[in-house]
Amino acid sequence: MLEVKDLHVYYGGIHALQGISISVPEGSVVTLLGANGAGKTTTLRTIMGLVRPRVGEITYRGKPIVGLRTSRIVRMGIVMCPEGRRIFPDLTVWENLLMGCYARTDPEIERDLEWVFSLFPRLKERRRQAGGTLSGGEQQMLAVARALMAKPTLLLLDEPSLGLAPVLITELYNAFRQIHQEGRTILLVEQNARAALSIAEYGYVLETGRIVAEGPKDELVSSDLVRKAYLGIG
């Protein structure tokens, strides 16, 4: 569904991505693991058209998307839930969700609102509250819910578990499982490898702009690199 080939991205003189290739098949959950500064966010931002690669190809359902505007990419069905939540603090929860469907005109918005409220019932209780007054966990739920309102076929999640208590991470990941069961494809960026590998079927490990390991979940879980650096075992 999404193919990233030999992606090179520079920030000024910094060579942030040094030839990244990733493949996300339709209906899968793929994870991209890596430490701080590895280039995970840069990869997602490049897919969304917020950063232009110097070299490399990105195709979505066979169509090249490098150079397209972000709004266009969103309308094609790729939606990103950004790092650090980035909800609109002055808008109510309800308005944040409506912002999620900004590019939509179809009549199923009501139904999707019901669906995200069933995924995150707490948001329904707080729908009239300003987004900025929510707790960190609730803000993350709102950020995911808002992304879902854009009707993604491919959902990019950037470190959704960051700064959350274990209970909340479990709750959030249960929601991801349901989102996946609803037929959505997910590219999940995480530092929390344990959580990510609990739902992903395939994973990549990124280090300073390069893919240093990749493979199906079981292979990664048993590999020395991942066990040492990301699971804290051995």
């Binding site: 980035r86 308005e95 808002r146």
Partner: protein
Amino acid sequence: MDIQQFFNGLTLGSLYALIAIGYTMVYGILRLINFAHGDIFMFAGYWVFFGYFLFKLPWWAAAVLSVIFTAAMGWAIERVAYRPLRNAPRISLLITAIGMSLLLEHIIIVLPWAGGIQKQFPRPDFMIRIFELGGARIQAVTIWVPVIAAVCLLGLLYLLYRTKVGRGMRAIATDMEATELMGADINRIISYTFIVGSALAAVGGILWGCRYPALRFDIGIIPGWRAFTAAVVGGIGNVIGAMIGGFVLGMAEIIFVATLPAYSGYRDAVIFAILILFLLVKPTGIMGKPLKEKV
């Protein structure tokens, strides 16, 4: 303060509020002090002048066309001058805005029918009629201005809080990139912001002409600065703050002039004293939140 002065203050405050909104909305999104905004306001008076005297249109038609043309100018200025600099250093944008301001003023100076000489803004009879209210003599314009301004401001609030593009405007002011990630066309939202801000300035410019009918290339400068001050006092970036700031400044100016008429030449000193006071006591303005530097 007597009734007459109260209406004078209300009128001036309404005018400042109408102009201040354009400053504050643009600043909220682009972090740009749009120096050309005062000249946009000035141009609105000229559009009415041209429509009325040159094309012999009825006054109301000239006024409506003026609002449309002025809004179109605001749109065009952003499109041509500011948008190409979206990712440029902020200082380039600021200098472009100053250049745009000078350009607009000089267009009026070189226009053959307008010239550098002062013209008279055409005032319709219903605006200059005088009537008695509680023993005071009130000019109709001091009623019309607050009423029309109130309608415009309510319309703006409706736009901001009840429509999709208004929601986009509020969203983009806190996080442009996140708004883009929602699939919103941010260029379109920014265009709408300039159109709305300029249209309100046009309404302000036309009403200003009805109150102070002198028309010259530089009439936008001083009201522009005062309205900008109002936007800062109200909390720059905050629309409701700009409205409140406008009224506070308008009232303060009239009260000062009314109580100390001999010192009326110092009215700008009073306005800037209020500004400095606010910057010292509450730097983020009446409605402002702690400013976060945009990255």
